[in-house]
């Protein structure tokens, strides 16, 4: 597998991951490579920070030029119980042209995978959303979304780990803590974690 790479400053490279591959799976190729400081997956790319005194970019590229290990089956499924009473249920049903019950059924029917984290500590972008539910984010983001809110935007679903501004369309809420800095690891959902939502 040959991956395109773009320099990102002096000691990092942004790697393009071809469609059909999960950046988080490719990231595992660098799990035990000395001199690799941090590997951060996102939607279609992977940022590799490395220590140029220890490893050259060519060696990083060589490590990436392998078959990714099989999708991690070791990651434990996380089940989140959701009260589907979100402020945007009706709006999503309208845009998708289905009933509210069908919105809930489709959202809870899929199995998701954490593609990457961002926006806030513990905020996971989950892929696997039913195409019918892939609606754009709100035109105007809300100033405050409560912690535990379950939302959708474009190809992703996710849960707000803490109260924050947000533009995702809200379907419901979970009481499960997504982020607890005193817990190890602090994030319930890390890249690669499989997730299901269960209506309460």
């Amino acid at each position: 597998m040959t991956l395109g790479a773009r320099p990102y400053g002096e000691r990092a490279v942004l790697v393009d991951v071809p469609a059909g591959r999960a950046p988080v799976a490719v990231a595992h190729l660098l799990d035990d490579v000395a001199g690799v400081v941090e590997v951060v997956p996102a939607a279609r790319t992977l940022l590799v920070e490395f220590e140029p005194d220890i490893i050259t970019w060519e060696s990083v590229a060589a490590a990436l030029d392998g078959e990714p290990p099989p999708e991690s089956t070791a990651a434990r499924l996380v089940t989140l119980v959701v009260r589907y009473d979100g402020a945007d249920l009706d709006g999503v049903a309208d845009v998708a042209d289905i009933s509210v019950q069908e919105v809930v059924r489709r959202h809870a029917a899929a199995e998701y995978t954490v593609a990457f984290c961002g926006f806030a500590p513990g905020f996971a972008y989950l892929t696997g959303l039913d195409p019918v539910l892939q609606v754009p984010r709100l035109g105007e983001p809300r100033a405050a979304v409560p912690a535990g809110s379950v939302g959708i935007a474009a190809e992703f679903t996710g849960v707000y780990p803490r109260r924050s501004p947000g533009g995702w369309r809200l379907l419901g809420r979970t009481d499960t803590a997504l982020w607890d800095v005193e817990r190890d690891p602090p994030a319930l959902l890390a890249p690669g974690t499989p997730v299901r939502f269960v209506p309460r």
């Binding site: 990102y8 400053g9 490279v13 951060v40 990457f116 961002g118």
Partner: protein
């Protein structure tokens, strides 16, 4: 103990930050002017990344309940000699005035500022709220036991501001008009008032994109020059989000990000292309 008499406009505790947690969405955080933090700590005999005060635009006043050795670096403020370790007697105070130029002053205390660490760092993350809250009047903070060496002599004079910040092109220069790089390096940019530890927001000519579609979220790093839809660049600081959905035209080299930390609203800044050395590919 250290009693905060007045924090000034914004004082936070900063150390080497939280590298290693970005994949869970945690910003790097840590001192914006990392070289200044390290120098201040060396002067008082601490490990380089020990927690110290990052003082934004002066105004910090501290009272010490026991004698302590301190040193200030970064933006020079009246009240304490720059780059010189000073022992402050028990019950005595220090007060930093307004810096004549520069923005961020680092006040290190021999032993370090002892606040609770989160995810291995005592840094205040102004984006996500990790670490201690910004310093407030009346706070009582402990002094740690981090000292590992002798107190040093005086440091050389503060570095002069760099005439321009060196950048490495990419990763998404192909998302911009071919002239965008010349506009970036050929223009004088003005620092906007909304600049903070998340990013230095700049005013100047538009950096026009050649593509109008949406960029899928990408990982980011401090120093990245991101260009949102208003075509005005933002230089990411230590508390920047770890992913972003706007293209990055170029990245400020690490050594020059320290100089960028000293830019204040209204200042003018230029960019220049870094030459070959240090390139990743």
């Amino acid at each position: 103990m250290i009693e905060v008499v007045a924090p000034g406009p914004l004082t936070t505790v900063q150390d080497g930050g939280r590298p290693g947690w970005a994949r869970l969405g945690v910003p790097r955080s840590g001192a914006f002017d990392r070289a200044a933090l390290r120098l201040a700590n060396r002067l008082v005999g601490n490990p380089e990344d020990t927690a110290a005060f990052e003082v934004t635009f002066g105004g910090l006043e501290l009272r010490f309940t026991r004698a302590a050795t301190v040193a200030v670096t970064g933006a020079s403020c009246p009240g304490l000699d720059w780059g010189t370790p000073v022992t402050v007697g028990a019950g005595r105070s220090v007060r930093l005035g307004l810096p004549a130029r520069g923005l961020r002053t680092y006040l290190a205390i021999r032993g370090g500022v002892d606040v609770a660490a989160q995810l291995g760092s005592r840094s205040t993350d102004t984006l996500s709220g990790l670490g201690p809250p910004p310093v407030r009047a009346g706070d009582l903070l402990g002094i740690g036991a981090a000292a590992c060496g002798p107190v040093s002599g005086t440091a050389a004079a503060p570095a002069m501001p760099r005439p321009s910040l060196r950048v490495l092109v990419g990763p998404r220069d192909d998302w911009f008009d071919p002239e965008a790089l010349e506009v970036l390096t050929g223009s004088a940019w003005t620092v906007r008032g909304e600049s903070d530890r998340i990013g230095i927001r700049l005013d100047g000519p538009n950096l026009r994109r050649s593509r109008s579609d949406e960029l899928p979220s990408e990982p980011t790093l401090p120093g990245a020059i991101q260009v949102p839809t208003d075509a005005r660049p933002i230089v990411f600081g230590p508390d920047a989000p770890v992913t972003g959905g706007y293209p990055v035209l170029a990245v400020v080299v690490r050594a020059d990000l320290d100089a960028a930390a000293q830019l204040r609203p209204g200042d003018t800044v230029r960019f220049s292309r870094a030459t070959g050395a240090g390139r990743a590919t």
